[in-house]
Amino acid sequence: MEKAIFKRPESLYETPFHYCPGCGHGIIHRLIAEVIDEFGIRERTIGTAPVGCAVLNYDYFNFDVCECAHGRTPAVATGIKRVRPKSVVFSYQGDGDLAAIGIAEIIHTALRSERITAIFVNNCVYGMTGGQMAPTTLLNQKTQTTPFGRDPKKAGFPLRVCELLATLDGATYIARTALNNPKNVLKTRESIKKAFLTQIEDVGFSLVEILSPCPVNWKLSPVDSIKWMKERMIPYFPLGEFKTPFAK
Amino acid sequence: MTERVIVAGFGGQGIVFMGHLLCYVAMMEGKEVCGIPSYGAEMRGGTANFALTISSCEIASPVFSNPDTAIIMNQPSLDKFEERIIQNGLLVINTSLISREIIRSDLKILRVPATEIASQIGNLKVANMVILGAYVNKTRVVALETVVESLPSILPEHLYKFLSLNSCALREGARYATRLTTDNHQL
């Protein structure tokens, strides 16, 4: 008898992703779906759809999803989790949603140690609105609203979210990973697993920041984007676990 | 029967507590009642006041310009409310803190050295209960016993150690009022 060794996770619909070529969202969706399948929690998972490129993620996720106002995703997730404490609730947020307009919500959700998991997709740019500066846009990086490159005197410095949240007592599992090579993709999957486990085991708040490519708005080819991640993003946003309840 | 009362004094003299207690007592006696702490433009200058209406029928407006009775704990409040009391209305004053003469000649006046009596009992803070006891005893708007019985419902639990002090002050005020003779200007 033949045995399938690679198949579509049950937590994903059979719908092709609409994301741009080289975008990381498809990979992240799949990793989340795989982890949910692995834990067997699809029927008690409630996800969120943020304002941004992933707003239609419920077209792909085969479980309950709640669309949220920009930045309020962790507050909405809090409301859901408090009503359904046995559910597994995760927020899916971009860098604008989490680190700009919703920075208060993510900080206070972490401080309350809400039993939710935040999946934070950091691609250093606002994707859906056409490539404006994000709070995580690197210095000198050109965007639609920093056409001469991000100048800290005018536009401030990039925000390191994991380092910030790791200072909070309520934050339990905080990790940063990247999608720049298969090894790091697998590490990302491991981190997502640990983050969900932190919630399932009722230990506390968990967040995985995933450095993700956005070739279209970076105006680079997918291959050059991967290079840019390694040379520019990762040095500024170092990978690793900043806080963990698990033995190393 | 409708009695509109203003209770006024410094913040910290237990004005709102007096108002709250009186509301509760009226309710326990099955009367219609409506009370409101200082509001709007009146909320200034460190003075506190509480307006309440006790009635045997439905109360339309909780807001009124002219009280039937003013219970006045300090001089600034007297300055503010003396002219507002209705013709031939009742003025209850804390003479310990009010030295000036009453200007109006039509008012019935109940003079209670509330702060002094409270001090004799052992705590200045219960001057509010002294004057309340005097007012209730003289007007019988509610029964003194209901006021005493209602204290535990209004006093916060962490202040229960002062329950007997408060009821003692109410009774002392009532006793003082009984001794006062009634003539044109004094109840």
Partner: protein
């Protein structure tokens, strides 16, 4: 009991188990009350980091099928408008209490009716309505909370309770009567986990051409059904030559003025809208032809007066008298306005 506390207790008795708030005067007693009572009944109380977070927690709790509520006062309600708009878009029930204070800006903490337009015209972005209930006593504050939760669930739409600082701070006896409303449908749309059913999605985004237009037409049919919930109190309408229209605490004060005017032989009636949206235009249309003048009394610069004028349709005169910025009229003041036969405009 204080109005604010009565609202809290009524919410608990109406089965609300999720309250999310942020301190602001003059509604703080309500938030404090909920922090204590939710603990006692095993419910959830969160002091959120902002009004934005609080209303979005309501959004999430409601999406998950819970009976949820938030409360605030005018400046905070402005912040909550984002969430209220999303709740209408996603058809989520919920109760929002506005203990209104003076504005614009930080204004003051005195009672006001300055948020009538905001409440009755949707309030946030988009094109929508919410039911707006206006109590005028502590008892009615409690009664309308029960009704608010029922109507919110019935129509899958947020319901606003528009009080003011006076009602919130006022002490009156109150009895909690949990009325028997009709049966509500099960919340099959709620996010409970996709077990033995296809996934549920709560959303307000409809990008495809024409889809949102169609949906908004569907929602408009719902708003039409909501209009049947109109409620008002009418006093002395049968023989009235003049009618005072006022709501909330202003109606209580006006009622005393009407009684005073009646005692002086003037045939004055009172219409007190209990639902501000839907507005009780029907009763005004019924009586308008025999009324010499409507007097609209509000604690603002004149907002509900526009709804009265829309209902009167120019058939008779409408005058307005208002006290903006935290002013509270007295019965004698209103008496004089009507006796003299003219308002501010």
């Amino acid at each position: 009991m204080k109005g604010n506390e009565a609202i809290g207790e009524a919410a608990i008795r109406a089965g609300c188990r999720y309250y999310f708030g942020y301190p602001i005067t003059p509604q703080n007693e309500l938030t404090a009350y909920m922090s204590k009572r939710m603990e006692e009944v095993g419910g959830v109380f969160i002091q959120a980091e902002s009004e934005l977070a609080a209303i979005n927690m309501v959004y999430g709790a409601s999406a998950a099928g819970g009976r949820a509520m938030t409360s605030s006062s005018s400046p905070g309600i402005s912040l909550k408008q984002e969430g209220i708009s999303y709740m209408v878009g996603a058809e989520l029930p919920g109760v929002v209490v506005n203990i209104c204070r003076g504005g614009p800006g930080l204004g003051n903490i005195a009672p006001s009716q300055s948020d009538y337009f905001q409440a009755t015209r949707g309030g946030g972005h988009g094109d929508y309505y919410t039911i707006v209930l206006s109590p005028s006593s502590v008892q009615e504050s409690a009664d309308l909370v029960f009704l608010a939760f029922y109507l919110a669930d019935k129509y899958r739409n947020p319901v606003i309770i528009l009080g003011d600082g006076f009602l919130g701070q006022m002490l009156e006896p109150v009895e909690f009567k949990n009325p028997a409303f009709g049966r509500l449908p099960r919340k099959r749309w709620a996010l409970t986990g996709a077990k033995e059913r296809p996934p549920n999605v709560i959303r307000s985004l409809y990008l495809k051409e024409g889809v949102l237009e169609k949906r908004n037409w569907e929602l408009s049919k719902k708003y039409e059904r909501m209009k049947k919930e109109v409620r008002y109190e009418g006093i002395y309408l049968d023989d009235a030559e003049f009618i005072v229209v006022a709501y909330g605490i202003c109606a209580r004060i006006s009622k005393a003025s009407v009684l005073l005017l009646r005692a002086h032989g003037l045939k004055v009636g009172l219409i007190r809208p209990i639902t501000l949206w839907p507005f009780p235009s029907g009763v005004i249309k019924e009586v308008r032809d025999k009324i010499k003048r409507f007097f609209v009394i509000e604690m603002n610069l004149g907002q509900m007066v526009e709804d009265v004028k829309l209902a009167v349709e120019g058939r008779t005169s409408v005058s307005f008298y208002g006290r903006p910025g935290g002013g509270v009229p007295t019965p004698e003041e209103i008496y004089k306005v009507i006796k003299d036969g003219k308002g501010y405009f």
